[in-house]
C-alpha cells in the first residue's frame, strides 16, 4: 500500500520521479530571487507570484522586488496575488485541491498537507528551473508516521504540541515525509502542526485518516506550553532549540506579536480576544496583531475582534506574513525581547541583531501582554 507521497508522486520510496506540479509559488520573501534566473515560463497558468511579506513596503528595496515580480508576472501571464494575506493560506483555502502538488521556495509548504495537498519546498535554482520547464524531478522520500494520541490540555496549543514533538523527534524526520494521524485536532490545529513540523528538515508532511501501525506515538495530553528559543543565523533556523516555557518564565519582554498562519487566523484571533477580554495591556509592552489573510481580517472586523484589540491597545498590522521584518511595523529595537507566534527566532529576524526573539503560542503571547514577561 502506497504512502500519501508515493501515491501523489507516483513512485515508491527511493525511486526517481519527474512530475509536473499543479501550482508553483514565488513571493517577495526569499523566492523572488528565482525571478532573476527565469528566462521563460512553461505553464504561466500554474505560476502564482504572491506579495505577502513586506506589506506595505518597508523599504525602497522591497518596492523594487515587487516591481520586478509584477513585471515578471505581467510579462509571462502568471497569476499576481496581492493584498490577500499570507500566500500559503490563500492558496490553501482558495486555490489548491486535494491530491494536487504545490511547489514553492519557502520553508512551510507542509501546511498544504492538512488539506491533502502535497507541499514541497525547493531551492531558488530548482524553483527557477521548474518554472522554465514545468517539470520537477525528485527522489521519493521514505515516510514516517506518527499517531497523536489523546487531546491537548486547555493550557496547551497545537503550536506547543509541534514544538514538543520536534524536541523529541526532529532527527527521525530528516528528509522524510511525515504522515500525521491527529483525530483530536481541529482543521486549523492540523494546519498549525504541519506547518511547523515540516520546517525542521522533513521533506513534507500530511494528515492521514487512520492510525498507522508502525508509527511514532506522541501523547497530546502531556503537552505543556513551549517556546522555540533564539538561534543564530537564518540558515540554522531549522535547528533552533525548543524548551518548556517554564524554563524561561520571567524573561522580561518588550513586545509581542500574534500573527501568521500559526497565530493570525480567525481561530487564533478569536482565542486571543477571549484571553484578553477584561485584561489590561501592560504599559511599555507593544502588542502587534497581524491577521493572516484578508478574509481573516474582514471576519475579525465583523466579529468585533479588531475593535476589541484596538481598545486593548494593540497595533493592527496589514494582513500578511510579518514574521521577518527588516523595516516595518513591529520592528524590534536594541536589546529588546519579543515573544511571537511567528516561526523565525534567528538573530535580526525582527529588526536589529541585539533584539532577542522567542516563539510561542497565541495563549503565551496574550498572557505576556498583561504581565510583560514570559
Amino acid at each position: 500500500m502506497s504512502t500519501f507521497i508515493e501515491a501523489v508522486l507516483g513512485g515508491a520510496a527511493g525511486s526517481v520521479v519527474t512530475i509536473e506540479p499543479d501550482v508553483v509559488v514565488m513571493n517577495d520573501g526569499v523566492s523572488h530571487a528565482a525571478v532573476d534566473e527565469i528566462g521563460s515560463v512553461a505553464y504561466p497558468e500554474k505560476v502564482y507570484v504572491v506579495y505577502d511579506h513586506d506589506v506595505p513596503t518597508g523599504r525602497p528595496e522591497a518596492a523594487a522586488i515587487l516591481r520586478k515580480n509584477l513585471l515578471f508576472a505581467q510579462k509571462y501571464g502568471c497569476h499576481y496575488v496581492q493584498a490577500k494575506g499570507i500566500g500559503y493560506l490563500y492558496l490553501l483555502h482558495e486555490v489548491v485541491k486535494p491530491g494536487q502538488i504545490v511547489v514553492g521556495g519557502g520553508s512551510h509548504a507542509s501546511i498544504f498537507g492538512a488539506n491533502g495537498v502535497l507541499g514541497i519546498n525547493v531551492s531558488v535554482p530548482e524553483l527557477a528551473r521548474l518554472v522554465e520547464t514545468g517539470r520537477f524531478s525528485t527522489v521519493v522520500p521514505e515516510t514516517v508516521c506518527v499517531n497523536l494520541k489523546g487531546a491537548l490540555p486547555e493550557s496547551a496549543s497545537a503550536m506547543d504540541a509541534a514544538f514538543a514533538f520536534l524536541r523529541k523527534n526532529r532527527e527521525a524526520l530528516q528528509k522524510k515525509a511525515l504522515e500525521v494521524y491527529a483525530p483530536s485536532l481541529t482543521q486549523h490545529e492540523k494546519e498549525v502542526f504541519l506547518s511547523i513540523v515540516g520546517s525542521t528538515g522533513a521533506y513534507t508532511a500530511s494528515i492521514r485518516s487512520t492510525a498507522a501501525d508502525d508509527a511514532l506515538s506522541f501523547d497530546l495530553s502531556s503537552v505543556v506550553p513551549m517556546v522555540m528559543l533564539p538561534c543564530d543565523e537564518r540558515k540554522n533556523q531549522k535547528n533552533a532549540s525548543f524548551a518548556e516555557k517554564a524554563t524561561v518564565a520571567g524573561t522580561v519582554l518588550h513586545a509581542g506579536q500574534i500573527g501568521g498562519y500559526t497565530g493570525g487566523t480567525i481561530e487564533d484571533l478569536r482565542l486571543a480576544a477571549s484571553l484578553l477580554k477584561g485584561k489590561k495591556l501592560a504599559l511599555g509592552f507593544r502588542l502587534s496583531i497581524c491577521p493572516a489573510t484578508s478574509a481573516d481580517y474582514i471576519q475579525a472586523c465583523e466579529e468585533g475582534l479588531i475593535t476589541q484589540f484596538i481598545d486593548y491597545g494593540a497595533q493592527i498590522n496589514a494582513a500578511g506574513d510579518h514574521s521577518e521584518i527588516v523595516q516595518g511595523a513591529g520592528a524590534m529595537g536594541a536589546n529588546e525581547v519579543l515573544l511571537t507566534t511567528g516561526l523565525y527566532t534567528y538573530t535580526g529576524a525582527m529588526g536589529v541583531p541585539s533584539a532577542t526573539i522567542y516563539s510561542a503560542s497565541v495563549q503565551s503571547v496574550a498572557l505576556a501582554s498583561v504581565s510583560k514577561e514570559i
Binding site: P56, T307, G328
Partner: protein
C-alpha cells in the same frame, strides 16, 4: 560670538526644505552626532563629510521650509555652521536656527555674485555681508535673538534664566466681552486674549501661556535630552501636556524607534504627564478629536502641522524641541503677531470636490512661501459649508505656504464638535474692519480637482492636465485626509470595485476612533475587498515611515501633505498629492482619474 567674521560658502537655491537638509528617514536616528553625517545627503552628499566649522550657507528664498524638525537646524549647528544668509527663511526653521545657535541673515543680492567655496565676510553691527569685492545690506538681528546665539543657543540661555530664578510673566487673559472688540484679525484676537493685551498689531512680540503643549514621539529623545541639559526637575503644568506616540509607533525603524518609545514613557514618568496616547493615531487628529485644542485657545507642538486645529479657531503653531523644553519649564511662549491673508471662499462644493482641492489651489497660487510668517484666515459661505474635518484639512496644509497658522471662524459646527455653546466662542470671527495685507477670493463651485505634482507641494495642476498618468501606489491617510469623512468618500468610490492590476493601495485611518468607526460602517471591509491593505493608525508614509515606500521611477499618489523629493521612497520616486476622492478613483483605474467622471 564675534560680530565680524569670515566663512567659506556653501551655496543653495530656493525652497530648501527640511527634508533636504536632513531626510525624514534620518530623523529618528537617536543622536545628532550620528545624524549630522546625513545633512544634505540627497542634494550635496559630500556636505556631511567635508563641511568645516565656521562655514556659511548662502541660499535663496524660503530656506528651511517644510517640517518643523529641529534637527534640520541642529545638524547644521553640530556640523559647525554658525551663519546662514538667505533671501528669506521658513518660520519654524527661523526659530529653531537661532535656538540652535545659528545666526540667520536675510539678504537679497549676494546670491548672484558668489559661488560655493568663496569667502564671505559678515559684519553684524554694520549689517553687511561682503564677497568677491561686493557688499550687501542684511536685515537687522533683534538683540534677544543675537544673545541666544551668543550664549550658544536656547539651552544655555534657559539655564541662565533658571539659575537666576524663573520669573513668571503675570498675565490676565481678556474677558470674553473684551474679545468682541472689532478691528482685529483672527490671529490678533486669539493672541491678545491669551496674552491679556487689549490691543496688538503685526510685529508685536507677545508672551502667551499656551493652553496645551503637545509632544510627539519623533522628538522625545531630543526633548528628554534637552530637558536634562537644561537641568529641569519639573515642568510648569503637566496637565497641559500631551504626549502622542504616532510617528514611531508602531515601532518600524528597528534601530531607532524603540528609543523614541522609551523616551516618551520616560518623559511621562519623570515629569508626571498623564495624557498619553500610545499608538492611538496621529497627534494632530487626536488633538482636536480629544478636545485638547479648543476654539479660542492657544496650542503648540513639536510639529509643523500643528496649524491643523486652526480649523476650530485655535491659535496653534509648531515649535522645535529646544523651544518646547524651555516652554514646558516656563509655561510661556513668545509669538510675533503675524500679518494676515484673508481667503474668502464663495459658492458651493460640487460632488467630487473637497476642501483639499481648495487648499491645493491656494498653495498653487501663493506658492510655498506665500504665507510666510502670516496667518491665513478662511471665511465666506463655502468655508462655513465645510465640515470640521474638511476645515482641519485646510488648516493643516496652510503650513505648506509657510503660514504661522491657518484659522477658521467659529460657528455652529465648531460649537457642536466641541459640545460648547456658540455664544462662548462666537467672538472668533473675521472683522470686516480688520487689516489684511492681502485678500484672495475663490468660487469653489468653479473648482476642479487639484493635484500637487512632483516635486513640490506648490506645483499644483488642475486634474485635466495630468489625467491618465500611471500610478503605482495610492496612499489614503494622514492628518490631512485620514478622517472618517475622507474614508467614507473613498469607500463609496471603491465599493464593489477592484483596484487596478498591480496597484498597491494602502489605507491608514487617522486615529483609533476613526479606525473603529470605519470598521463599524463597513469601510474597512470595502477597502480590503477592493484590494487594499490596512495599516494601524499612525503618521505612516506621509512622513516617510515604512508604510509603502517606493522605488526609483515609481509614482505614488497620496492624500497627505508633502511630496518633497525622497519623502516617500528614493529621490527618483515621483509623488502626487490629492483629495481622497481623486485617490480612490485613481486606485481603481490605475491612472490619475477624475472622481467626477
Amino acid at each position: 560670538m564675534d560680530k565680524v567674521f569670515n566663512g567659506k560658502i556653501w551655496k543653495f537655491g530656493n525652497d530648501i526644505d527640511t527634508d533636504t537638509i536632513i531626510p525624514g528617514k534620518r530623523g529618528t536616528i537617536p543622536t545628532i552626532e550620528e545624524m549630522k553625517k546625513y545633512a544634505f545627503e540627497l542634494l550635496k552628499p559630500e556636505f556631511g563629510s567635508t563641511v568645516q566649522p565656521g562655514d556659511i550657507l548662502v541660499a535663496g528664498t524660503n530656506f528651511g521650509c517644510g517640517s518643523s524638525r529641529e534637527q534640520a537646524a541642529t545638524v547644521l549647528s553640530h556640523n559647525g555652521v554658525r551663519c546662514i544668509i538667505a533671501k528669506s527663511f521658513a518660520r519654524i526653521f527661523f526659530r529653531n536656527a537661532f535656538n540652535s545657535g545659528i545666526l540667520l541673515l536675510t539678504c537679497d543680492g549676494i546670491q548672484d555674485v558668489c559661488e560655493g567655496g568663496d569667502i564671505v565676510t559678515v559684519d553684524v553691527d554694520a549689517q553687511t555681508v561682503s564677497v568677491n569685492g561686493k557688499s550687501f545690506k542684511v536685515g537687522a538681528v533683534p538683540e534677544n535673538l543675537f544673545n541666544i546665539v551668543s550664549n550658544g543657543g536656547l539651552i544655555e540661555d534657559t539655564k541662565a534664566r533658571m539659575a537666576a530664578g524663573l520669573k513668571k510673566t503675570e498675565i490676565t487673559p481678556l474677558t470674553k466681552e473684551q474679545c468682541y472688540k472689532s478691528g482685529y484679525t483672527l490671529a490678533e484676537k486669539l493672541l491678545k486674549r491669551n496674552a491679556g493685551k487689549e490691543h496688538v498689531q503685526p510685529g508685536d512680540i507677545v508672551i502667551t501661556k499656551p493652553d496645551m503643549f503637545m509632544i510627539h514621539d519623533i522628538y522625545t529623545p531630543y526633548l528628554l535630552d534637552t530637558l536634562e541639559k537644561m537641568g529641569a526637575t519639573e515642568i510648569d503644568d503637566p496637565d497641559k501636556v500631551t504626549i502622542i506616540f504616532d510617528h514611531c509607533m508602531p515601532t518600524a525603524v528597528a534601530k531607532n524607534d524603540s528609543a523614541h518609545y522609551d523616551a516618551g514613557l520616560e518623559i511621562a514618568r519623570r515629569y508626571g504627564v498623564k495624557k498619553l496616547h500610545i499608538g492611538e493615531g496621529i497627534c494632530h487628529t487626536i488633538m482636536h478629536e480629544a478636545g485638547y485644542a479648543k476654539p479660542g485657545e492657544i496650542s503648540t507642538a513639536t510639529d509643523s502641522h500643528t496649524t491643523t486645529y486652526g480649523g476650530a479657531g485655535n491659535f496653534c503653531s509648531g515649535i522645535g524641541t529646544a523651544e518646547m523644553a524651555a516652554a514646558l519649564i516656563t509655561g510661556e511662549l513668545w509669538f510675533k503677531v503675524p500679518t494676515a491673508i484673508k481667503i474668502v471662499l464663495n459658492g458651493h462644493f460640487k460632488n467630487g470636490i473637497m476642501s483639499k482641492d481648495v487648499i491645493l489651489r491656494v498653495l498653487g497660487d501663493i506658492k510655498a512661501d506665500g504665507g510666510q510668517y502670516k496667518s491665513m484666515e478662511f471665511t465666506g459661505p463655502a468655508a462655513h459649508e465645510m465640515s470640521m474635518e474638511q476645515r482641519f484639512t485646510v488648516a493643516n496644509m496652510a503650513l505648506e505656504a509657510g503660514a504661522k497658522c491657518g484659522l477658521f471662524e467659529a460657528d455652529e459646527k465648531t460649537a457642536e464638535y466641541y459640545g460648547i455653546p456658540l455664544s462662548e466662542i462666537d467672538w472668533i470671527r473675521v472683522d470686516e474692519d480688520a487689516h489684511y495685507e492681502r485678500v484672495l477670493t475663490y468660487d469653489v463651485s468653479e473648482l476642479e480637482p487639484q493635484l500637487s505634482c512632483p516635486q513640490g507641494v506648490d506645483n499644483v495642476h488642475p486634474i485635466h492636465e495630468v489625467l491618465g498618468t500611471k500610478i503605482d501606489e495610492v496612499y489614503l491617510g494622514s492628518c490631512t485626509n485620514g478622517s472618517i469623512e475622507d474614508l467614507e468618500v473613498a469607500a463609496n468610490i471603491v465599493k464593489g470595485k477592484q483596484v487596478a492590476p498591480g496597484m498597491r493601495f494602502v489605507v491608514v485611518p487617522a486615529t483609533n476612533t476613526v479606525f473603529k468607526q470605519a470598521i463599524e460602517r463597513g469601510y474597512i471591509k470595502t477597502f480590503i475587498e477592493a484590494g487594499a491593505v490596512i495599516s494601524h493608525p499612525c503618521c505612516g508614509l506621509c512622513c516617510g515611515m515604512p508604510y509603502g515606500l517606493m522605488t526609483d521611477d515609481e509614482r505614488i499618489l497620496l492624500t497627505a501633505n508633502r511630496n518633497f523629493i525622497g519623502r516617500q521612497g528614493t529621490k527618483k520616486t515621483l509623488s502626487y498629492l490629492s483629495s481622497p476622492a481623486v485617490a480612490a478613483a485613481t486606485a481603481i483605474a490605475g491612472v490619475i482619474t477624475d472622481p467626477r467622471a
